[in-house]
Structures are given as structure tokens and as C-alpha cells.
């Protein structure tokens, strides 16, 4: 953490004033609030759209759980509706909610502010990114109303069933689903290029890469892997669309269905799986890496202690990102692929556990000898550690090839991925919203509502997904409309299913407390001031709160230190903002460097 003196910076770089500020600002209400090119507005548009469509996914999850707990009870539920709910829930959660909210939402809001930039480097393209994302969401929603309803192919959309009769929504739903994915990827690419170039080119004076907050590292790295991974899904979606609409045979072999020989021939269903998971596994880290980054900053700020092992944390993020591209076939151990692949992919998959575990140790070691403030964001960060460790460890079962054989396609898998890439990242999303809401609105979220929301969500989610592993161990398969009569599932499993469903409904309803809090605190929340958490990173040092267009007023901040100068020995306060010049420090430390 070498301090750069103010003098070297002033002589090395030109001043950062913007001469024609007036030309740069939007002129009308429409360009300020709707077709805005301000990354902060775009971030809010992305987040609100994602959370809104996320509520649809929440309702879909209730439908799934009601059917599993009370089969043959609800007249609105048949097998087709069930599989449509499963598909819509999974697809929205992974793509339209988590990817969008982490990169489009937090990425847009935090990157420019945290690196001391005025905005993304291509504001116009950034605006287009959101509107294309919105179009993707609307096409997805349109599929709900298409003849035959949305596709019920499962979120993995495996051909041949995805485009054949026998799967709900095979006529129109699947076409709209694929079109929506293609739009999403186009929109994401526009935003993603922006985030990457902004981090590489838009950092303010003194903000070296190794001084960036881990939030920026996480979002930046996730964006890089998303830019490399989404094209595989794009290609898969285009080919499947051709198979469905024009009758080509990319993924379709010769098939006889209900006694009728179809016109397909020579395609490979398993090729789609490779393309899908070449995207699909990095996708896990597209969601996880921003969560890793943000939770690091939450823990450090609220424990008033520097993140332990910053450099290790950065390199762990980078090595996880690289490894994430060579583990994809661990989703395919029982797919019938070339058996020897199992050796390679099991080894790479278990290797990825090492950098991931180091990150966990460093979070916990940051708490060690900290000054822990159990604020709502900190509570969510701690809950993230618990659920992520749990979900990560069950990954060691499923990644270890032969152990996966009995467990794959059972409820164990469902429990695992919900814990690790559902519950854990969403807890970070909540923690991050409680943490950054004051910067976005100038007001604090209500603490009591936050506590209620936290406890129900954390303990409820754990109670839902921890026991679910054991249903999978027992052998209950996933994606079953009903388990019906078997010789191996005891009646007690039914009781467990009812328990899980009741808890899921309670947790779902508790989210309304959160939504209410978001709106209530907008007007009634306690005023926060510019830096309520006494944090070091640049977004808390803006001249205005909420920050205005251009973020920094007349002059950009200059960075003199890393983002984790908490409780520095000899310093007066227990935090030193990144833009605090060294001279402002009191004697001991300044002399030491």
C-alpha cells in the first residue's frame, strides 16, 4: 500500500476538470429520467426491471412448491403448468434477475463511482443496453400469453424435447424464449463492453488496479467471463431456433415420436449441452464473482478492518474466472459424453475449490480481531458466508464425478445450486441494497424492517434447502410433477415437502416487507448524509448525495491509497478515505512511508 504523494500526481497527469459541463448534461425530462445516459439512472432502471420480473419468478416458485407439497389438490395445476413454472422460475432467476441486477444494476451504479469516473465510457451504448434488456424481458413476458404458453423445457432447454411436441410451449413459447435470450445477450454485450472499458480506461488519477475495491474487481472479472461465455449460448440459441423454425438438424438426430418419423436427421443433442454449459458454468461465476466482491467490501466496512489478504483475493477472483472455463462438463457426467472426460473435469472442478476456499478463509479472517458492527448489511454478509460455504461444500459431492452419478438429476442438485447460486448471492444483493441505498437515495432503509426481513430470509432459506439435500440422497428425482407411488420414498418425505413449502411461502411473503421498505424509506427513511457507514471507497466521498450527473462536480477525486484503510494505527479516525492525501495523516504513519 505505497502512498503516492500529491506532488507526483499533480505533475504526472493533466487536471481533470471538464470545461464544457453544460453541454454534457441532459436538457429535457425525458433524457434525464427515461432515455437517460447516466449510468446511475440506468442502474436503477436495470435493478427495478430485474426485481419486478424477479417477483414473477417468486410466484412461479410458489406454484412449484405448492404442487410438490400438495399434489392433486389445485385445479390450476397440471403437469404442463408445473413444468412451465419450473422453466420460467429458473430462467428468470439466473438470467433476467441475477445477471441483470449484478452487472446491469450494481455494475452500472458502482463502477464509475468507485473508480472515480464521471460515467461509463460509452453512455449512449449503455442506455441502449438497458432498453434491449427491457425488450428481452418483454418478449419473455409475451411468451406467457402466447398460444400454448411459455416453454416448459426446463431452464436448460435441452433438445430434442425443447422443440418437440410433448413439451409445453413447444410451438410458440420456445421461439419467444430463444428470441428473448438472443436479445438479452445483445443488450448485455453492449453494457458489458462498457463496464470492461470503463474499468480499464476510466479510472481516476491514482486509482491503480491494485487499489480498486474488490466490488469492482468482482464485477469487472464477471463481465469479462460473461463476454466470453454468452456467445456460446447465443450460438446454441440461434441453432436451436433454426432447428425449430426452419427444420434444420443441428441438435436433432433421426427421431420417431408417437409413431411418426420426424424429418430431422444427423444432429447432436449433446453438442447443445456442451454449448449450453460452456456458457452455463461461467454463468455461475458471473453471478458469484460480483457477490464475492461486494461481500468483501461489506465485511471490511462493517468490521472496520481491512479485507484480509487483498492481493490473494484479487488473484483468487482471476483464477476462479480462468478455471470456470474448463469445468463445464461437470454438469454432464451422466449425459453419455465421452467417459474419460470425467477424469479431467472432476480434477479441474475440485481444483477450483482451492481459490474459493481461500476467499472464505479471508472473509472470516477479516472478522478476526475486527470491530464488528452488526448492521443489517453485515448480517446479510455473515449469512452469505454460512450459505455459501454450505452450498460450496455440496459442490464437492457433485463435482467429484463418481459421487455425482447417484446424486445427479435428484433433489440434491436442486438443493445445492439453490444454496450456492440462489440463496447466497441473493443474500448479498439484499446486503448490498441495505448498504448502498443511502448513497442512491440519501436515506437509510428502516432498520427494524431490515432485521425482520433478514432473519426470516436467512433462516427460512436455510430451512428450505438444507433438508432438501436429503430427499436427493434418498433418490427423489428433480423435475418431477409428482413422485406418486414408489417403493423407496417413505411417507415422511411428504411431511418434509409440506414443511419446505410452508417455509417457502413465509420467506416469499417476507420479501414484501423488503419491497415495502424500499418505497417507505424513500420518503420516511432517516437522512443518511454522504457517508453513513464511514467507508473509505470513493462512492462515499461524492460532493452530493445522491451524486449528481457526472458524479464529481467540477474536479475528479485523486486516489492516494487502497480501499481498505480501516483502523489504521495512529490515524485519528477508524477509516481513511481513498482520496485523503497522505499529509492529512497524523505523524507516525506518514513518516513511516
Amino acid at each position: 500500500m505505497v502512498d503516492v504523494t500529491a506532488r507526483t500526481i499533480e505533475t504526472a497527469v493533466p487536471p481533470a476538470e471538464v470545461p464544457d459541463v453544460e453541454l454534457y448534461h441532459p436538457k429535457s425530462w425525458l433524457t434525464t429520467w427515461v432515455f437517460s445516459q447516466d449510468a446511475k439512472i440506468i442502474a436503477i432502471q436495470y435493478s427495478m426491471t430485474a426485481l419486478t420480473i424477479g417477483l414473477v419468478a417468486l410466484v412461479a416458485s410458489w406454484l412449484i412448491r405448492l404442487q410438490l407439497a400438495f399434489p392433486n389438490t389445485f385445479s390450476f395445476m397440471d403437469a404442463a403448468t408445473y413444468y412451465q413454472a419450473v422453466t420460467v422460475h429458473g430462467m428468470i432467476m439466473v438470467i433476467y434477475l441475477l445477471t441483470a441486477v449484478f452487472l446491469g444494476g450494481f455494475g452500472n451504479y458502482l463502477i464509475p463511482l468507485m473508480i472515480g469516473a464521471r460515467d461509463m465510457v460509452f453512455p449512449y451504448v449503455n442506455m441502449l443496453s438497458y432498453w434491449i434488456y427491457l425488450a428481452a424481458v418483454l418478449v419473455l413476458v409475451a411468451s406467457f400469453f402466447a398460444p400454448g404458453g411459455p416453454t416448459g423445457a426446463g431452464w436448460t432447454l435441452y433438445p430434442p424435447q425443447a422443440i418437440l411436441e410433448g413439451t409445453p410451449g413447444y410451438s410458440a413459447g420456445i421461439i419467444l424464449m430463444l428470441a428473448s435470450l438472443i436479445l438479452f445477450i445483445i443488450g448485455f454485450t453492449m453494457g458489458g463492453l462498457n463496464y470492461v472499458v470503463t474499468v480499464l480506461q476510466g479510472r481516476t488519477r491514482g486509482m491503480t488496479l491494485m487499489r480498486m475495491p474488490l466490488t469492482v474487481w468482482g464485477i469487472f472479472t464477471a463481465t469479462v467471463i460473461a463476454l466470453l461465455a454468452f456467445p456460446a449460448l447465443f450460438v446454441g440459441a440461434v441453432m436451436m431456433l433454426l432447428d425449430r423454425a426452419l427444420g434444420t438438424s443441428f441438435f436433432m438426430p433421426a427421431i420417431i415420436q408417437a409413431g411418426e418419423h420426424l424429418k430431422y436427421n444427423g444432429g447432436s443433442p449433446i453438442l447443445f449441452q456442451h454449448l449450453f454449459w460452456f456458457f452455463g458454468h461461467p454463468e455461475v461465476y458471473i453471478v458469484a464473482l460480483p457477490a464475492f466482491g461486494m461481500v468483501s467490501d461489506l465485511i471490511s466496512t462493517h468490521a472496520r478492518k481491512n479485507i484480509f489478504g487483498y492481493r490473494m483475493m484479487v488473484w483468487a477472483i482471476i483464477s476462479i474466472a480462468v478455471l470456470s472455463f474448463v469445468v463445464w462438463a461437470h454438469h454432464m457426467y451422466v449425459s453419455g459424453m465421452y467417459p474419460a472426460f470425467g477424469f479431467f473435469f472432476a480434477t479441474t472442478t475440485l481444483i477450483i475449490a482451492v481459490p474459493t476456499a481461500l476467499k472464505v478463509y479471508n472473509w472470516v479472517l477479516t472478522l478476526w480481531r475486527g470491530d464488528i458492527h452488526l448492521t443489517v448489511p453485515m448480517l446479510f454478509a455473515i449469512a452469505f458466508i454460512v450459505t455459501f460455504v454450505n452450498g460450496g461444500l455440496t459442490g464437492l459431492f457433485l463435482g467429484n464425478v463418481v459421487v455425482d452419478v447417484p446424486l445427479s438429476d435428484t433433489m440434491f442438485v436442486v438443493a445445492h445450486f439453490h444454496m450456492v447460486m440462489g440463496v447466497a448471492p441473493i443474500l448479498v444483493v439484499f446486503g448490498a441494497i441495505y448498504h448502498w441505498y443511502p448513497k442512491i437515495t440519501g436515506r437509510m432503509l428502516n432498520e427494524v424492517m431490515g432485521q425482520v426481513h433478514f432473519w426470516i430470509t436467512f433462516l427460512g432459506a436455510y430451512a428450505i434447502f438444507f433438508p432438501m439435500h436429503y430427499l436427493g440422497l434418498l433418490g427423489v428425482p428433480r423435475r418431477y410433477f409428482e413422485i406418486g407411488q414408489t417403493s423407496f420414498v417413505p411417507p415422511s418425505a411428504e411431511t418434509l415437502n409440506i414443511f419446505i413449502t410452508v417455509v417457502a411461502l413465509v420467506v416469499g411473503i417476507a420479501q414484501l416487507v423488503f419491497v415495502f421498505n424500499l418505497f417507505w424509506s424513500l420518503k420516511k427513511g432517516r437522512e443518511s448524509g454522504p457517508n453513513p457507514w464511514r467507508a473509505t471507497s470513493l462512492e462515499w466521498q461524492t460532493p452530493e448525495t445522491p451524486p449528481g450527473h457526472g458524479n464529481w462536480g467540477k474536479e475528479l477525486p485523486v486516489v492516494y491509497r487502497w480501499a481498505y484503510d480501516y483502523s489504521v494505527p495512529g490515524a485519528e479516525q477508524d477509516f481513511i478515505p481513498q482520496n485523503e492525501p497522505p499529509s492529512a495523516l497524523n505523524g507516525a504513519r506518514a513518516a513511516g512511508h
Binding site: 467429484n400 464425478v401 418434509l496
Partner: protein, 270 residues
């Protein structure tokens, strides 16, 4: 304080749940006990790590909770500690990966002389085929499939005419000898899944996949489809009976061969 207590309860509660859970794997009926053992090793290692991390977190939260005048330490990194933690983790990972890869080698290496049978999946039912007296399965193709040739056997392949076809009944397997299960689908992906066997594998139209096992315990077990295959996925059930070889042979001799089935088809057509 409350947070620390809750974390301790979460860690210990999870262990207690694991111990007392009435939901555990089915009694095994195949040679894949090694898989169960690898799962147990993984449970022990991951369980210990989970409890340790959560309890340590709870300890930190309690001991270093904010009080007036408390100030955090300033320690950016400790490379020695990080190296040791990294090495320890690598060791734990190796302890799970090694048995995993050894057993996988067994899983993908079909023993010489394993008996071959075939399972065919279609929306939403199972069919089975045994080689006839010649011990060879005939070739197949989806385009041969018709009303009296449900599995698409090549009518001009002499190896196929004595193949025994079980379409719509239970599957009987002999106990004690290794069996290579060849898997085929005529329409979409399926997965031949018998929880008691532990082994499973997807079936892919256009390809023949396989796995092998040795049934070790007599009994009647459910066959389920474990790869989503459309609205009827959950109804795609079957039954497999494991019995001693003589009984199974007697059962097999009562089933119809491909030649008998297609002759019957021709008679019916006339």
C-alpha cells in the same frame, strides 16, 4: 450475541439433522458400494469444514463485536497463514478427488465378459432387449421402427432375429454377474435410473450410451426416468426384478424373440 448463538445452532443443528435424518439412501443392490463410501468420505470432510468455519465465524462475531473504544487490528495480509490454509485445503480436496477418480475408472471400465442387455426409452415408457441364443444383439436404426418392430431392429441382420424383446413388461436381471446396460432412446433424452443401483446414465437419440453394474441383492425395484423428457416425465416408470440366474433364465425363455414378434405381426396383417 444473538447472531453468534444462531450460527452455533445452525452448525450443530445441521449435524444433528444429518444424524437423525430418516431420509437416507436406499439399501444398495449393486456392486457400487464404493460410490457410497466416497460419499461418506466427502460427508466427513465437508461436514468438518462447514462446522469449523461456522463456529469460528460465530466465535469472531461474539468476541469482536463492537463495544465502545474497541479498535480493529490492522493486518493487510499474512502470507504464511494463507499458504498453510491453501495447502491444507488442497490436501482435503485431494483426499476426496483420489477415491473419486479411482472409482470413476472402475465405473467406465466394463469388465470382460459382461452380459449385454439393452434398455430403450421413449416418451413415456421403457422397453428391453436381450441377445438370443447367439449372444449377440442385432443392429438397430430408428428408421426401421414400425408397428411390429418397436425397437427398430435391422430386419436383415441375422444377429437380431433371435433377440428377445420385452416391451411393456418388467425387466428381470440375474444376480451376481456383471451386466453392461446399453441405452438407447428413440425420441428425446431419458435416463435409466434405479436408485438402488446407484449407477445411471442418460439415453440420447442417435447414440448408444452405456453403464455397467453387478446386481447383488434380490428384490423388486423402481425404474424412474431421471432426465427431463416432457410432460410425462414423472410417469415414466418401470420395474426391475433382480433374482438368481436360473430363475431369470426361466423368465427370459418365456419372452418373445424378434422373429416371433414380426411373424406374429405379418400374420395379423394378413
Amino acid at each position: 450475541m444473538a447472531v453468534a448463538v444462531v450460527l452455533v445452532l445452525v452448525a450443530l443443528g445441521s449435524v444433528v439433522f444429518h444424524m437423525l435424518s430418516p431420509w437416507w439412501w436406499t439399501p444398495i443392490a449393486s456392486n457400487w458400494g464404493f460410490i457410497d463410501n466416497t460419499i461418506l468420505i466427502t460427508f466427513w470432510i465437508t461436514g468438518a469444514v462447514f462446522v469449523a468455519v461456522v463456529l469460528f465465524t460465530a466465535y469472531c462475531i461474539y468476541t469482536f463485536r463492537h463495544r465502545e473504544g474497541l479498535r480493529a487490528d490492522y493486518e493487510p495480509e499474512n502470507q504464511k497463514l494463507e499458504t498453510w490454509l491453501g495447502l491444507g485445503t488442497a490436501l482435503g480436496v485431494a483426499a476426496m478427488l483420489t477415491p473419486g477418480l479411482v472409482v470413476w475408472y472402475q465405473f467406465v471400465t466394463v469388465p470382460e465378459g459382461a452380459a449385454e442387455i439393452e434398455v430403450v426409452g421413449q416418451q413415456w415408457s421403457w422397453a428391453y432387449r436381450f441377445p438370443g441364443p447367439d449372444g449377440k444383439l442385432g443392429t438397430t436404426d430408428v428408421r426401421y421402427i414400425g408397428p411390429d418392430n418397436p425397437l427398430g431392429l435391422n430386419p436383415s441382420d441375422p444377429n437380431g432375429s433371435d433377440d428377445v424383446i420385452v416391451d411393456g413388461g418388467d425387466l428381470h436381471l440375474p444376480r451376481g454377474g456383471p451386466i453392461k446396460v446399453l441405452l438407447r432412446s428413440t425420441d428425446v433424452l431419458h435416463d435409466f435410473y434405479v436408485p438402488e443401483f446407484r449407477a445411471k446414465m442418460d439415453m440420447i437419440p442417435g447414440t448408444v450410451t452405456y453403464f455397467w453394474l453387478t446386481p447383488t441383492r434380490d428384490g423388486t425395484f423402481d425404474i424412474l426416468c431421471a432426465e427431463y423428457c416432457g410432460v410425462g416425465h414423472a410417469n415414466m416408470r418401470g420395474t426391475v426384478v433382480v433374482e438368481d440366474a436360473a430363475k431369470q433364465k426361466a423368465w427370459l425363455s418365456q419372452q418373445k424373440s424378434f422373429a416371433e414378434l414380426s411373424a406374429r405381426g405379418r400374420t395379423a396383417a394378413r
